[in-house]
């Protein structure tokens, strides 16, 4: 009996691993072939416009571009499986090193963004659902609509103009003022954490002032989405019979909303929040451009434009890992929140 159970767990784990491996392979294959379909000569990105023909040809050979595409792909996967993701042609660093530098910048921004987004989005969604059709509902709806429809690029520039240039409340583009460069030793790559660890509180304050605006912006955009989703999940729950029953029992309205309805709405909501977070972790290219934030989104986009395939593929693996990881996490949370899905 016990043996059988262990066997089935191993089987399930094996199945999971196979799925994950296949997902990665598919992701890499699609990215790789898209990269090769783009009508850009990757060797040209290295040698530049002026290179004599023989230099261009030699670099093409060095990059293996004269081999058939499937062979190039097989070579790449073989090396990647051994942990060698190659070197970026643009930064001349090993790709993993670049990612170790850019991902923490995005992680810091995205985490603050999702904390703001979920922290405000869920209560606002609940509020809108409770006051359905009322002023509160309209206000939240307008806020969400603005969040959906205003280009983030524009809003970012306006934010900089008002809060940075005019009012001076926040720091400008970049992660930290030049005066604080080299004052924070890199441990995790998360500036706030590293500054706190080093006890550099002035640098911490400066990094925070730089982070505040882009994080608020990303927070606002995810809040728009999360509040709308919360509202609709809550409306579903509030119309359910158990709510009527709870009211009939005389429970307080607050208890009904927060303990009963929201708890049930949380189940699908966890997936929504996890996916929003994953979306932010991909790196928001436009936000990173406006705020000169050296993150993953900018890195991947810049690499793609220059057909720097090693960098693009490395970035893709990170993004894939984030999605797979957060999906697994939301599955686990799902089980914790919904007793029906727990194994008996």
């Amino acid at each position: 009996m016990n043996l059988g159970r262990a066997g089935s767990t191993a089987k399930a784990a094996g199945r999971l691993l196979a799925t994950v491996a296949l997902t990665y392979l598919g992701l890499l294959a699609v990215t790789f072939f898209i990269g090769r379909v783009i009508p850009v000569d990757p060797a040209l990105a290295i040698v530049g416009d002026r290179a004599p023909e023989h230099v261009l040809q030699r670099v093409r050979e060095e990059m293996g571009l004269n081999k058939p595409v499937w062979q190039q792909f097989a070579l790449y996967v073989g090396k990647a499986a051994q942990g060698d993701f190659g070197t970026s042609v643009l930064t001349r660093n090993p790709v993993w090193q670049d990612i170790a530098k850019t991902f923490p910048a995005t992680l810091e921004l995205a985490t603050c963004g999702i904390l703001i987004g979920a922290g405000l989005g869920v209560p606002l969604g609940v509020w809108a659902a409770v006051r359905r059709g009322g002023v509160a509902d309209q206000v939240v709806r307008v806020m969400a609509l603005v969040g959906y429809s205003v280009p983030i690029f524009w809003l970012g520039l306006m934010g900089l103009l008002v809060f940075y240039a005019k009012l001076g409340w926040v720091g400008g583009p970049g992660r930290i003022d030049v005066a604080f460069e080299y004052s924070v030793p890199t441990v995790s790559g998360l500036l706030l954490l590293d500054a706190a660890l080093a006890g550099e509180w002035e640098a911490w304050g400066n990094a925070f002032s730089h982070l505040a605006l882009p994080a608020a912006l990303l927070g606002y955009f995810s809040m728009a989405y999360i509040s709308r989703m919360t509202r609709s999940f809550m409306l579903n729950e509030l119309a359910a019979e158990y709510i009527v029953a709870a009211r009939a029992k005389g429970l307080s309205e607050a208890r009904i909303i927060w303990r009963h309805a929201l708890r049930n709405a949380m189940v699908p909501l966890v997936t929504v929040i996890a996916l929003s977070y994953a979306g932010l972790l991909e790196g928001s290219v436009l936000t990173e451009t406006v705020f000169a934030w050296p993150g993953l989104g900018l890195y991947i986009t810049n690499s793609l434009q220059n057909a720097d395939m090693n960098a693009v593929l490395g970035g893709t693996i990170v993004v894939g890992t984030v999605f797979i990881g957060l999906n697994l996490l939301s599955d686990v949370l799902y089980r914790l929140l919904d007793p029906r899905t727990r194994a008996r």
């Binding site: 416009d49 002026r50 023909e53 810049n302």
Partner: protein
């Protein structure tokens, strides 16, 4: 519960309290200007792909090389036709014109502390030829090859070296080539100590520093930050500031905001709109210099319509040069209808063309195309080229020439252009080194027009077969009398204006905006001659 039932007054109080709290929370850390001993420059430097002078060919990296590495000779920024010794104290050219001897200044040192000797100079030149990266042709064009370079470039003493060329070139041509980054001097001892698998230290130097210039490169963080620090071992006037920090701000709007705020001292990539807007700011001033970069539209001669001489000429009458000059390139360029930018030996000021639709129509009719024709143009989606392309599209339409613009990313249009599968292309060309041959070589020389040609200059890319003009350009580079040489380029340009498939449009003016307290910054005519050593902050 939510405070919807609170009386109006207390709600207002609450709102005010919230606002106050917000203000307090985000109260700015004292807004420091940039550090007094540091120049902070906003620059889009995503073009940097290497710090090895044997490989560097990009604008931003070129600027770093000019500040961080010495070479034998430099040209005088105030008068680019004048050459001065950098580490060379003097030089002589042999009677047959094929041997150059240099004597170095004594007591030179690299930033590392190693002495700088003739052996370092010779080895650096050899290394550039042996590594054979994109800019190596600047040295190999006077006969240096991987096989002979150790013979041809030799240290003859601790402070003397000789360089031999295969032909008797104009001495100014050879010396001008030696001002380029590819001829920069690297610290042989340091670089060789980092060598791996016989790579001559390339794997290390592409992200590190081994020079002797006014500045040391402390760090290059791709798309984020570059830091230069004063080199106290420098042989010339030492840098006045302690460091220069370049911050990668891609957007003009971002550069402008940070400049106005005082978080950067210099903004280098501003659009004409942002420059105009800054005009009203009293804390900001601008400096401008004509650059050795020309912009052009080219016509691929593989297209049978564009190959007709009358059509080539007609197209030149369909560009609204004056209109473009007054709007699209205002403050960032001046109309120039020749392939040599102003400032180079032999540059011509002739500009015979203007918008003349009637004349163009007559020429098209003569070519058998009275109703015009349809054609495509590959255009990078950046300003000002896309604006110029659209302006040309409008004016050409008036003579019946229907231009379809194919927008693309820079690398994408370039891939197509280099394969010469375009119809028309709008591009730019910056002088690789400060000598007229750099542009004559690409615009007016095409030694082999076959598809598999070894050398593929711009004339080749547009399939323009010009054996006669090629001979003239070859002769000009051998003319040792500067006056005669200038006259030869004048003649080549006259023919080029008339018959070439190139519509030369303008010469770039580079503009930088700086805070009022920054002094001594002068943009150079080439990317590697914008120096920071003399800059001060008041």
């Amino acid at each position: 519960m939510l405070p919807t039932s609170l009386p109006t007054l207390s709600r207002r109080v609450l709102a005010l309290a919230a606002l106050a709290a917000l203000t307090a929370l985000t109260a700015p850390a004292s807004h420091a200007a940039t550090p007094k001993d540091t120049l902070v420059v906003a620059l889009a430097f995503d073009d940097i792909i290497s710090l090895d002078p044997a490989e560097v060919f990009e604008i931003s990296a070129g600027e770093l090389m000019g500040n961080a590495y010495d070479r034998l000779v430099r040209f005088d920024v105030a008068d680019p036709s004048r050459l001065m010794g950098d580490v060379a104290k003097g030089w002589t050219v042999s009677a047959d014109g094929k041997s150059f001897s240099f004597e170095l200044k004594p007591g030179l040192k690299f930033a590392s502390g190693n002495p700088l000797t003739a052996e370092d100079v010779a080895w650096s030149l050899q290394r550039s030829v042996l590594i054979d990266k994109s800019p190596a042709f600047i040295l190999t064009q006077f006969g240096l090859t991987k096989d002979n370079v150790k013979e041809k470039v030799k240290a003859t003493g601790a402070l003397t070296l000789t360089l031999e060329t295969d032909k008797a070139y104009a001495p100014s041509f050879v010396l001008n080539c030696l001002t380029a980054n590819v001829a920069a001097i690297v610290d042989k001892k340091l670089v060789l100590s980092k060598e791996a698998n016989g790579d001559l230290g390339y794997g290390w130097l592409k992200t590190n520093y081994a020079g002797s210039g006014a500045w040391k490169i402390r760090e290059w963080r791709a798309n984020e930050l570059v830091v230069l620090e004063r080199n106290n071992n420098y042989h010339g006037a030492k840098a006045k500031l302690a460091r220069v920090m370049f911050r990668h701000f891609k957007e003009s709007a971002t550069q402008r905001l940070t400049l106005e705020k005082g978080d950067v001292d210099v903004a280098r990539n501003l659009t004409p709109q942002d420059l105009a807007a800054l005009g009203a700011n009293k804390d900001v001033k601008v400096t401008a210099t004509p650059k050795g970069t020309v912009y052009y539209i080219s016509l691929n001669q593989k297209n049978p319509n564009l190959a007709k001489p009358e059509v080539r000429e007609a197209m030149k009458w369909l560009v609204d040069y004056a209109g473009i000059g007054e709007t699209l390139i205002k403050n960032i360029g001046v109309v120039n209808q020749n392939f040599l930018p102003q400032g180079l030996l032999g540059a011509s000021k002739e500009s015979p063309y203007k918008l003349d639709v009637a004349k163009a129509k007559a020429l098209l009719a003569k070519a058998g195309l009275p109703n015009g024709f349809k054609v495509t143009m590959d255009v990078r989606t950046v300003q000002p080229v896309s604006g110029i392309a659209e302006a040309f599209q409008q004016t050409a339409k008036r003579a019946g020439v229907e231009i379809e613009i194919l927008p693309g990313d820079g690398k994408q249009t370039l891939t197509k252009y280099r394969a010469r599968t375009h119809d028309m292309y709008i591009g730019q060309w910056g002088a690789d080194y400060w000598d007229p041959h750099t542009n004559a070589d690409t615009f007016a020389r095409n030694p082999d027009n076959a598809d598999d040609a070894k050398s593929k200059p711009l004339a080749w890319r547009n399939a323009w077969a010009i054996p006669e003009l090629t001979k003239k350009a070859d002769a000009a580079v051998l003319e040792r009398d500067a006056k005669k040489r200038a006259a030869m380029y004048t003649e080549i340009q006259a023919e080029f204006r008339k018959t070439s498939p190139f519509l030369m449009i303008f010469q770039q003016t580079e503009v930088a905006a700086l805070r009022g307290n920054v002094e001594g910054l002068k943009l150079g005519p080439t990317s590697d001659t914008t120096y920071y050593a003399g800059v001060i902050k008041k």
